[in-house]
């Protein structure tokens, strides 16, 4: 279903000049946490509405809002049933076209496994290599992360014409901790004043050009210190 949502996003990417995406990962000391993924298309609502008014685009059926709502509900239900995942929510705003996903998890492996299982069960995407990609690795003091590979793969597929428009979009990746951050590897990243959150921001065009641009290894100050 994330695939479905991602496809919808990519469809909208390709026709939107200014998309705002944000992923926000909070990891507590015990490895549990919250994952949030927001997509904001409000600056292109005329265009999104004009697409949704069409029956088909590039030979494929354009879903009606009711179809999207139904798929979203299916996704929530399936993901919520996965081991280690709870409190799945998606706020859907079809006036401004803002979608906010959030869920709690007991550890990052179960989060990634849950998402993979959900996508596999709701779509035909059983063996997609991108699903096997682990984009979060957490060992208690070090977080190695990128962004979901499935998003990057879809961005890579976009045509040059779409890419010109992607330059106006943004992708923001935030990682939050209970502990203080010691250092991080990505030179573009910035640290919050309370030193417990790291943010990396880029435009979607740069992300397509360099899929590793948001990769970051974040080291926390250990308790011993």
């Amino acid at each position: 279903m994330i695939k479905n949502l991602t496809i919808l996003l990519i469809l909208i990417f390709s026709l939107s000049s200014c998309i705002e995406i944000m992923d926000d990962l909070t990891i507590h000391a015990d490895g549990s946490g919250t994952f949030r993924y927001n997509v904001n298309l409000s600056s292109n609502k005329i265009k999104v509405n004009s697409i949704l008014a069409l029956d088909s685009l590039d030979g494929q059926k354009v879903p009606k809002i009711e179809d999207i709502k139904e798929k979203v509900q299916q996704f929530i239900k399936t993901l919520d049933a996965q081991n280690g995942i709870s409190n799945v929510k998606i706020e859907e705003n079809y006036t401004d076209f803002i979608f906010k996903f959030s869920c709690d998890f007991t550890n990052v492996l179960l989060l990634q496994e849950g998402i993979k299982t959900t996508i596999s069960s709701l779509t035909k995407e059983k063996n997609a290599s991108e699903l096997n990609h682990n984009w979060i690795i957490w060992d208690g003091t070090k977080l190695t992360r990128s962004i979901p590979a499935i998003t990057m793969n879809k961005v890579k597929d976009l045509k040059q014409n779409d890419i010109d428009q992607l330059k106006l979009g943004t992708y923001t990746s935030i990682s939050r901790f209970d502990k203080t951050v010691d250092k991080f590897s990505n030179p573009s990243a910035i640290l919050s004043k309370n030193r417990q959150a790291v943010m990396v921001k880029t435009d979607t065009y740069s992300l397509k050009e360099n899929p590793n641009i948001l990769e970051n290894v974040i080291y926390l100050i250990s308790n011993k210190n």
């Binding site: 927001n38 879903p63 995407e125 063996n127 004043k193």
Partner: protein, 619 residues
């Protein structure tokens, strides 16, 4: 005259007759409804075959050519006789659909390097005529002309015959095999990795297992067999008519034969009277009310569109005549008998990228249509039609036609005035520096919006005022601003629509500048006098489009696939398109379309692009 002279004369006459017999247009089947006949195919000598077959009008036959064997070749290398016409045709009747083209042949050996997948069908061939077949198409060579044709029975006809055989054999409905309803593919179900295996699984579920009894055909196998037999029968019927009885389109329709004599680069023919058969909405009349259908056909009799294409330096001109039968001609004459409303010129800016005017008199058209069509309907002995006739007659008595046609007279105009940034609201995320927690705030945004203006001529301005006033009471989105009305967020729930009800016009626009600053027209910035005069002088219709500014920047998202295809053929070009029309008489209306262009593209290429556009529109 001496014997020798007589012999010479006879020989000359015979050779002349034989040349006449070899004309490619004589291989156009009479069932062709739309034909493009290109007189001067020398223009296409330099166009590569690969490029040629990429056109939509070549689609039906392109499988024969698009197999790699033509890579790098041009028409010049294909054995074609450039002294004969190239005729592209299409036709759809109730039983079959035909498409193809006929052309002159100079070198058969070279021709078969292009059409390299054809095998001779001996039983259909004779000394004079050779018939070749491939998987999809047939190639017929007779003397120095050839016909490439595809005949497909219509699905309705195939299903009708298949069902008849299927049920006569005592079978039950074949559709019981289907379990679940088949969902239309959705963009949400994009094809992805590992999909192939599942497709096979689905197909296995959909189709009955033939191995249950290999000697008995299931419904789909039967349908395939029926299709094959019908295809063969239809082909034989058409070829017999064309080659044995010598009935072809020029001999069947003298209007087309006359058109072929014109000294233009190409001619165009579309028989609207026969085209109505493919109007799917008429199936009910065809089956349930055959006599009414016959009356409708009679009404359409004589309706044909004939055209000439002229190539000039940096211009392609189409002269088109729409001919009518008596009944429809009378209606069209009344409809198009309308005075040009010069008020519209005030609302078209001089820098408009594209605009049109359309002047019709709906009242007169209604009265004439009522006079002609009602007697036809009244004759029909059918309860439902009788009730409809009564309803129409009562409405005709009770409805205030002055008010109705005073509100919508029928004349209209439209303009596309490029793109403007319009102000919208967006939500943006902002981040707290301390924690990177984020919030949302409303911010101003700008989006590109194509600016359209559309207006109708109106006598009763009080009626839309009444409607808007009451609508304004129902929703605060509709407000009277004095010189105009505004409907907030009417366009995709994001941009306002403005309505101007002044000067005998009711105008809808998304152009804020027009509504606020120019509700009485653009004054000195209105369409210039020369352009206005042209529009005024044209009959009931006029259009002028700056191709570079309009087509290339047109928002494709708002068009459907078919419209998109048409626009795509004109994309990347510069120049202008102008459509002029004559006064409509009871017999015809003349149209002239002139496409002027700049750039290095050859006229032949432009011509093909335009032919393709027309083909898509008319197919």
């Amino acid at each position: 005259m001496s014997f020798k002279k007589q012999l010479l004369f006879s020989g000359f006459l015979l050779s002349f007759l034989s040349v006449k017999a070899q004309k490619s247009e004589n291989l156009i089947p009479k069932d062709a409804v739309t034909v493009f006949s290109i007189n001067n195919i020398n223009l296409f000598q330099k166009i590569s075959l690969d490029e040629l077959i990429s056109y939509d009008f070549m689609y039906e036959v392109h499988q024969e050519l698009f197999d790699g064997s033509t890579t790098g070749s041009t028409l010049k290398d294909s054995g074609l006789d450039f002294n004969q016409k190239l005729n592209v045709f299409y036709g759809k009747a109730q039983k079959s659909e035909i498409s193809g083209f006929s052309f002159g042949v100079k070198d058969q050996q070279k021709l078969f390097t292009v059409f390299d997948d054809f095998d001779l069908i001996e039983k259909m061939s004779n000394e004079k005529t050779k018939v070749y077949g491939s998987f999809f198409n047939n190639l017929i060579i007779r003397e120095n002309s050839a016909l490439l044709i595809r005949v497909e029975p219509t699905m309705d006809y195939i299903s009708e015959r298949t069902d008849s055989i299927w049920y006569a054999r005592g079978n039950e409905s074949p559709f019981d095999y289907f379990g679940d309803e088949i969902e239309e593919p959705s963009i949400l179900d994009e094809k992805v990795f590992g999909e192939e295996e599942e497709v096979i699984e689905e197909e296995t579920e959909l189709f009955p297992d033939a191995s249950e009894d290999p000697n008995v055909k299931n419904y789909y196998e039967l349908r395939d067999s029926v299709q094959l037999v019908l295809q063969q029968a239809q082909l034989e019927l058409i070829l017999n008519e064309l080659l044995v009885q010598n009935i072809n389109l020029p001999s069947f329709d003298s209007r087309f034969a006359i058109q072929l004599t014109h000294n233009s680069e190409g001619v165009f023919y579309m028989d609207n009277a026969r085209n109505i058969d493919k109007a799917s909405g008429l199936w009910y009349f065809q089956t349930v009310l055959p006599s009414l259908y016959k009356d409708i056909q009679e009404l359409y009799a004589g309706n044909v569109i004939l055209g000439d294409i002229y190539l000039k330096e940096h211009a392609v001109q189409f002269d088109i005549t729409a001919e009518y039968g008596v009944g429809l001609g009378a209606i069209y004459k009344e409809m198009n008998d309308s005075k040009f409303d010069k008020n519209i010129l005030k609302y078209i800016p001089n820098n408009s990228s594209g605009y049109f005017s359309y002047n019709v008199n709906m009242r007169q058209a209604y009265e004439k249509a009522y006079e002609i069509i009602m007697p036809i309907l009244s004759e029909e002995k059918n309860a439902q039609i009788a009730m409809n006739v009564l309803t129409i007659e009562l409405l005709n008595e009770f409805i205030n036609k002055d008010a109705l046609f005073g509100t919508y007279k029928g004349s209209m105009f439209g303009s596309f005035n490029g793109f403007k940034k319009i102000k919208t609201k967006k939500i943006e995320f902002f981040y707290d520096e301390e924690t990177f927690e984020y919030g949302e705030r409303v911010a101003e945004a700008e989006e590109d919006m194509p600016i359209f203006t559309y207006g109708i001529t109106i006598d009763r301005k009080d009626i839309p005022e009444k409607i808007l006033k009451h609508m304004g009471r129902l929703t605060s989105k509709i407000q009277n601003k004095g010189n105009y009305w505004i409907f907030e967020n009417a366009i995709f729930d994001a941009a306002p629509l403005y309505m101007i009800n002044k000067n005998g016009l009711f105008i809808l626009t998304n152009d804020e500048d027009l509504a606020i600053n120019h509700s009485n027209g653009y004054a000195s910035n209105k369409l210039n006098r020369k352009a206005g005069k042209k529009a005024k002088k044209s009959g009931f219709m006029y259009a002028n489009i700056n191709v570079a500014e309009t087509i290339n920047r047109f928002p494709m998202d708002v068009l459907n696939d078919r419209q998109n295809e048409i626009i795509q053929t004109l994309k990347g070009k510069s120049g202008s398109l102008e459509l002029l029309s004559s006064k409509t008489t009871i017999k015809k209306t003349d149209f002239k379309i002139e496409y002027t262009f700049q750039g290095d593209d050859t006229s032949g290429k432009h011509l093909l692009d335009l032919i393709n556009s027309i083909y898509i529109v008319t197919k």
